[in-house]
Structures are given as structure tokens and as C-alpha cells.
Subunit: 197 residues, 2 copies
DNA sequence: CCGAGATCGTACCGATCGGTTCGATCTTGG
DNA sequence: CCAAGATCGAACCGATCGGTACGATCTCGG
């Protein structure tokens, strides 16, 4: 029971608890795969509380997606930072982190892509686009620091490998998807920079 | 009006007409984005007819997805065949065809991936997996004929580029997505074989 | 020319959907 | 100790969902 009756008194605490618990449920079941009633039951929260905090089911969905996008991007960024200065190491850190995600039993593909595929609401699609923006920025940064002739282009190709690996892992075969993508990404690194695989 | 009342008398004709008309509608609106009633109205067909031919909405969905998967895979395969013997040309043909698809105003990403993202039914996921199997087979064939050391691995990396490019084109930016993916794919070709870009 | 059967249009079914309302309960600040 | 307000649980709302039933209409093979 994440929200113990009216004990919290702090609304922002309740909101955060709802957000945190709703995220994995909506990810597992799909945005339209669970109704508000069952969702509230799983959250241990009444409908009135949910609607006061988020106004609409779509409001909750957007809040969940935005929080998740931020969290995932931060997680990947930290993996890169922890990898040190070597650009190949940074790239490897990205795809190793992704592979760890693919191997998680609850892995069901990118939540933002799934959401955009089912919900045709424009705001959801915008969140997904911004999410990919974040990825692109991270990857382009690596490409730029690696001295790529065209960091934008290389970052975009890496983004395709990241998303492609995620799609393949989710819908075809997860074994070694991250490693295959990593090798491909490293092969695109300017050969003048750093040792390769 | 694709099905002119009871004039056809040939049930298989009716079935084919429903399939053909339902495909773009379900692609545009999403599988759960349109109800059976409105769908039938758009098809110019009564509910009874639809249910006699497909039994269930899921039955129609599966038939539509299978037909579309076959059609798309055949389309890509023919593009490769038409490209001649050169492996780089064959690869280029794939990504050029994809770019033409991305530029189509009705492009909304891969229908099979979208379906698998919304519908958690196992049969739909299976159709998607088989669809990716078809792509992988096509790409692995090119890799093998190109003399790749590990055609399976190279085919899989190309598959990631194909799916990644499609995802990026659908949810981020379609301009030049096919070209970027094509350059990356060509860069992964064994340098001993054929001229590159 | 008649009977089989494909189709239509519409009404209908129970279930579920997102969302609202309300009285009761609980916690906390003043 | 009381008023403010956050929360609960359950009832309730109209709309829509997937699916069924039925009588009328149409076409075609025999």
C-alpha cells in the first residue's frame, strides 16, 4: 500500500508515489491495456485522488512518460560519464547499459516508442520526439569529442543503432543485440581515433 | 464502395476487398483506435459480413498484418533483385526504397511494430517476430553473397539499421534517414568487396 | 423462376470505458 | 479540539466497446 490512507497530508508525496507505482504498471500493460479503475486498485489509490492530481488519464500518462524519459536519459548519460575519457569506452558503455536493460525480464521495448505507437495524441508523440532528441544529443556529443568529421550525421547513425537494437531486442531476439550494435557503432568511429574492438 | 451490396456472390472476393480496404485504415488509426462499427462503415460492409469472414476483430487484425508483412517483404525483396548483382547496389536499393516509404505522407512507422506495441496478444507478437525474420533473411542473404566473414552477424546489424532508421523516421525526423542508414550499412560491408559510397 | 446464401441495416446485448459525485474517515495546523 | 482538506470506497453517469440477431434485399446456379 504505497499511499497509507490520509496519513501523508503532503499532496506532492502522494503524487510522486502514484507516478512511481504507475510507471511500471503502464509499461507492462500498455497505456490502453489497463483501465483507470484497475489501475487505481493496483496503486492503492482512489479515483478521486488520481483525478485531482492528474486531471485526466492522459495527464497521468504524460507525467509518467516525461518522468521516465528523464530518468532513462539521465541513466544513460551517467553510464557515459562513468566510462571515462575514451570515446570508444563511452560508446561501449552505452550499448552495455542497453544490453543489461534488454536482459531484464520486464523489458518490453522503449516505453516512449510504445506509447507513440498506440496513442495518436500529439502531446505523447512530442514527448517521444524530445526523448529521441535527448539520445541524439548524448550521442552527438560523443561523436564531436571523438573528432568526427560530421558529428551530427554520426550521432544520428548511432541513434539508429540504439533504437534498432532496442526494437530487435524487444520484438525478435535480445541475445547479444547490444553487442552487435556496439560493434557496428564502433566500426563507424573515425579510424584515426582510438583503438577499436 | 468496395463491396457493392450482394453483387459479388464470391465470398473470397469480399474477403479480399475487406482486407485491402481495412489495411490502410487500421494502419492510420491504430488497431484499437477505431471501433468495429466505424470500421465497417468505412469499409462499406456490414458487421455481419465482417464477422462471418474473420470471426473476430483480432482475426481481421491478424489477417491484415500477415498480408501486409508479406507484401512489404516481397516489395523489399523485389527492390533488391532489381538492383543487379553488386552487393553495395543491393544494399543501397533497400535503403532507397525505405526512404521513399518514409517520404510518403501516410508513413507512420512499421505497422507490425506498432501492432506489437499496442496489442499484447501473443499471435500478433508472433507475426511481428516472423516479419523481422523475413527482413533478417533478406539482409543475411546479401551479407553472405558479399562474402562477409559472419553473414548472420552482419545481417543482424543491418536489420538494426533498417529498424532504427524506420523508428527515427517515424518518431523524430524522416529527412535523410534512409541515406544515413545506407551509409552506415555500407561502412559495415567488408572492405575487400566492391566500391563504397 | 425459385431456392440458397451472401449481404445490408439496424436494433440490441452485456461489459467496460473514462470521469464525477458524495458521505465517511483520517491527519494535521492553528 | 476544531476546522481544513486529503483520501477512501462505492455508487453512478453516458458513451463506447466487441459481438449477435433478424428481417429485408439482392444475385446467381440449377
Amino acid at each position: 500500500m504505497p499511499v497509507p490512507k490520509g496519513s501523508t497530508i503532503d499532496p506532492s508525496r502522494t503524487r510522486a508515489a502514484i507516478l512511481e507505482t504507475a510507471t511500471p504498471v503502464l509499461y507492462e500493460r500498455g497505456l490502453d491495456g489497463i483501465g483507470v479503475a484497475e489501475l487505481c486498485a493496483r496503486l492503492g489509490v482512489s479515483k478521486e485522488t488520481l483525478y485531482r492530481h492528474f486531471g485526466t488519464k492522459d495527464g497521468l500518462v504524460q507525467a509518467v512518460l516525461e518522468a521516465r524519459s528523464e530518468r532513462v536519459t539521465r541513466w544513460l548519460t551517467e553510464a557515459v560519464t562513468a566510462a571515462g575519457q575514451d570515446h570508444a569506452d563511452q560508446l561501449t558503455a552505452v550499448f552495455d547499459a542497453l544490453q543489461r536493460w534488454y536482459d531484464d525480464p520486464v523489458f518490453r521495448g522503449c516505453a516512449m516508442l510504445n506509447a507513440a505507437a498506440q496513442h495518436h495524441v500529439e502531446t505523447v508523440r512530442a514527448i517521444t520526439a524530445r526523448h529521441l532528441d535527448g539520445y541524439l544529443e548524448l550521442l552527438t556529443g560523443i561523436a564531436r569529442r571523438a573528432g568526427a568529421a560530421d558529428p551530427q550525421a554520426l550521432g544520428r547513425q548511432w541513434l539508429m543503432l540504439v533504437e534498432g537494437a532496442t526494437v530487435v531486442a524487444a520484438h525478435h531476439d535480445a541475445t547479444g543485440a547490444g553487442e552487435h550494435a556496439r560493434r557496428a557503432a564502433l566500426a563507424l568511429l573515425p579510424t584515426t581515433v582510438g583503438p577499436q574492438d
